[in-house]
Symmetry: C2
Subunit: 266 residues, 2 copies
Amino acid sequence: MTAIANDQQLTAAREARERYRAGEVVPTSGIAHGLVQANLISVPADWAFDVLLYAQRNPKACPVLEVLEAGSFEPSLAPGADLRTDIPAYRVWRDGVLTEEVADATAIWEEHPDLVSFLIGCSFTFEAGLVDAGIEIRHQSLRRNVPMYRTSEQCAPAGRLTGELVVSMRPIPANRVADAVRISGRYPAVHGAPVHVGDPASLGIADLSQPDFGDAPEVREGEIPVFWACGVTPQAAIMASKPPFALTHAPGHMFITDVPDAAYMA
Amino acid sequence: MTAIANDQQLTAAREARERYRAGEVVPTSGIAHGLVQANLISVPADWAFDVLLYAQRNPKACPVLEVLEAGSFEPSLAPGADLRTDIPAYRVWRDGVLTEEVADATAIWEEHPDLVSFLIGCSFTFEAGLVDAGIEIRHQSLRRNVPMYRTSEQCAPAGRLTGELVVSMRPIPANRVADAVRISGRYPAVHGAPVHVGDPASLGIADLSQPDFGDAPEVREGEIPVFWACGVTPQAAIMASKPPFALTHAPGHMFITDVPDAAYMA
């Protein structure tokens, strides 16, 4: 579907990117309501096929919104933006190990000028649809980062890449779970419907209060934990597969595009 | 959606692949009713990223169903099948020029053992849905190949690949066009809804009776020409971009999988 953001949204997106470029480090959930947010993974050109194939084989976790060819950092999803600076926080991975977290990746790009960058759909996109339907997004209410978990479910391997599925979790009142499924299911390009509803143990999650990324959740009485495939999944593949170098966003600290959620409605 | 083919369908698919393996050369439209058919493009490993990126940027024309890594020719969409032999006819491309059409690609694979193969969705998949809804598929009735046309619409370039959109055409009675749109639209992974309805000239098609691939159509009074994105689009990219080598199916002569159409219903 073609859809154009309104001026208010575009202003919110541009101001947010400018703040992040100037050094602000905050999670982006709820910012620029109604615009698509994206996960980032950048790898040296000789790893690009493996990453794109991993995404193709694991489309629920890694829905590709845009691929920037080697050396490019101005995405067509936000003309004028700069992927090296406009994300609040970046993670630098060397041989599969997280070595630095930085607010500006310009120096990293000077070190690796041939990076191929992948922008991958983020579940923050459909949160706007849930909010509009009156479903509380708890981590937004608490001004926390969304809780994310590594699971016992393996992704389909691709080339040199293997790794497990990472999920994000939102507690949803039992009488709104079906609505949450239907609303998020309208956005297959940004993870779509949940992969799992209600039983953390069967995903290999021993303790909901101990997420692997993001902040601890608050699940209240009458609420069911609902799990969506998460764009941090490529970071788990980096940990498991140890490419010599990778640059990603920090979980929950996304790239905000100029494209409205409606553009990805099926 | 998970869906399993029935025994009758699987038998039809296996018998068809065996006939093609034994040397039969026929278009596959209408064979193994209800099972997914696929376009093939195989390229040397150093062109694989370009092809996968071209597909990612042009998903309507090039919906990727499966990627077989370098040197593999047994697809998971049809375990036990052999991509080197089980397609009725192949085309061999050298420096962008069609040099041979063969019924068996085993010798080609010996020449190029590192081929990466892409199986791409085919509009024959949703023809079953149209037939089930009582919409005649004219080229099936006439036992001809579907007509396909190069258009004036350029695909999004990717790496070293550029080229125009190729479309397939089916004449549809005016009072069934909306049904044809809705039914094919249920299958976004196999080209989905038409890209164009009713005006060949605006696609740069001067003469409907002269398709670039396949057989001439028969458009009867009261019928509208309806155009779907076509998996021959990568072959147009080969012609335009001249990779040193590529192997494809011959238009209309598809790979028949063991997977039912319903598996790709949105």
